[in-house]
Subunit: 244 residues, 2 copies
Amino acid sequence: MASTTAGRRSGRLRRGSLTPEAIVAESLRLLDTEGADGFSLPKLGRALGADPTAVYRHFSSKDDLMLAIADRLIEEAMTGLAAQPCWIDTVADCARRLRTTYRAHPAAAALSASRTTRRPAEMRIVNVLIGAVLEAGFSGAEAARMYRALGDFMLAWAGGEAAFLALDPKQQEADEAAWTRAYLAVDRAEYPHTWQIRDDLAGVTDDDIFETILALVMAGFRVRAPRPCGCQKHAGQVPPGTTP
Amino acid sequence: MASTTAGRRSGRLRRGSLTPEAIVAESLRLLDTEGADGFSLPKLGRALGADPTAVYRHFSSKDDLMLAIADRLIEEAMTGLAAQPCWIDTVADCARRLRTTYRAHPAAAALSASRTTRRPAEMRIVNVLIGAVLEAGFSGAEAARMYRALGDFMLAWAGGEAAFLALDPKQQEADEAAWTRAYLAVDRAEYPHTWQIRDDLAGVTDDDIFETILALVMAGFRVRAPRPCGCQKHAGQVPPGTTP
DNA sequence: GACCCATAGTCAACGCCTCTGACAAAGCCT
DNA sequence: AGGCTTTGTCAGAGGCGTTGACTATGGGTC
C-alpha cells in the first residue's frame, strides 16, 4: 500500500502518477472498504487524487478494469502454490486458497468470479489441478471432465460465498437471523424434518459448511479415482478401489 | 404471460393494471430477452405500458423487486417437488431442478442467487432436503451441517452457471474459445499436465461438468452416510458402511 | 538549451440510471 | 355527492459510464 493513498486535489497530477498497478491496488482498497456500490470510476479517480475520468487513460472501460482486478485476485490466491506430495492435498489446498482470497475481497470477487482471464496465474493453477487429476489415475476425456468439475466447483463456491459477503451488512444480518430465529420457530406439522433439527441449524458456521462440502467432494473424488493415494494420512477413510 | 404484455402508451392506465405478479412476470420476461444490462425500472415501466416510475408504487426499490424475482425463481424451480423413494435421488433431483430453472433465466438468477428469502417455496425445499439428510442417518448438528453443505452447493453451482450465461454472448464466446484454442496451443514445457490433455479440454460440456461434480458430491454423501440407501439402483457402486 | 509532439491528466457534456416529492385521476365507503 | 386513500403521472435531483475537445508535461531531437 502507501504510495498514492493520498487524496485531496491541489494542483494537477504529475505525469507518471497513475500506473495500472496503482489503479488496480486502489480499486481493491475501495472495493474492500466501500463495497461494490461505492465503487465507481469517478470515485476511483478522486480517491487517487486525480480527475474523475482519469482512469479511462489506462483502462478502456470499467469492465476492462474488472478483468485486471480478477487476474490480480487469482494471482494473490495462487502465489506460492505448488503440488503437494498427495494429490488430495493439492486439490484441497487450491480450493482453500481461492476461498480465503475471495473472502478477503468479497466485493471484488463477487464482481469478477465468473470472468476467467487466461493469464499466467490462471494457467498455473489449471496445470497444478490437472496434474493432481492425472496423478489420481484419470486420463483423457475423463481427466478433462474431472478437472473442469473440480475447478468450476472451487470457483462457484468461493464466488457464492463472496457474493453473500458483498451484500450490505444489514442484509447479511437478516439472513443470519433467519437461521437463528425464523427456522427456530418453524411449524412442526408443516415442516417436520426442519423442526427436528431446528436447534442445530443456527450453530453452523461458514467454515463448517465449506469443510463439509469439500470433504464430500474429495471423498467422491477418491472413491472414483482409478489409483489410490498412498498417504497414511488418508488411509482407511474409504476402502480402496471398487468402482472403476 | 399474456394480460399486460401490450406496450405503447396511449392514455392513462386503469387503476388495478399494475399488480406485483404482473410486474414480476414482465421483469422476468425483460431479463430473459434483454439481459441484466437492459433491465431498468424505467424500461420495465414502459414495457408495462405505464410511466417509467410507476413500479415504485409497488416495490420500494429495485432491490425489493429483485427479492420478489428471486422467490419467484425458487417457486418455479420447486413446483411439484417431493421426496423420492431413495434419498439420493431426492438430493440430486433438487440440484437438477434448481440448475434447470437458473439456466432458463440466467440474468434473473445471477442477480438474485445469493438473496435468500425465507418464503414458503424456500421453506419447502429446505424441509425436503433435511428429510433426505435425516433418512441418510445423520442427526443433530451433523445433519444441519450436511444440509447446509448440500443446499449451499446447489445454490452456488446454479448461481455460478447462471452468472456465466448472463454475460454478453461475445464474452462467453471468448471464454469458450480459450478452451478450444488457447489451451490447445499451451506450452508443453511450462504446463506439461495441461499439455497432456489439451485435446480433451474443449469437448467438455456444461452438462458433463455438472453431472460429474454432482456425482462426486453424491458419492461422498453416500460414503459418509451412517445408513446406506437400499436401492438396487445404487447398489454396488460403493461398498457400504466403512467410515462413521 | 530550444523546439516538438505524443500522451497523461483535465474539463464539459450526453444520456441513462435510481429514487423523491408534488400532483391528479380513480375507485371505495358512507 | 363528498371525502379519503391509493395508484399512476410528471418534473427533477444527483450519480454513473463514457466521449471528445483542451492543455500541460516531460522525453527525444537538433
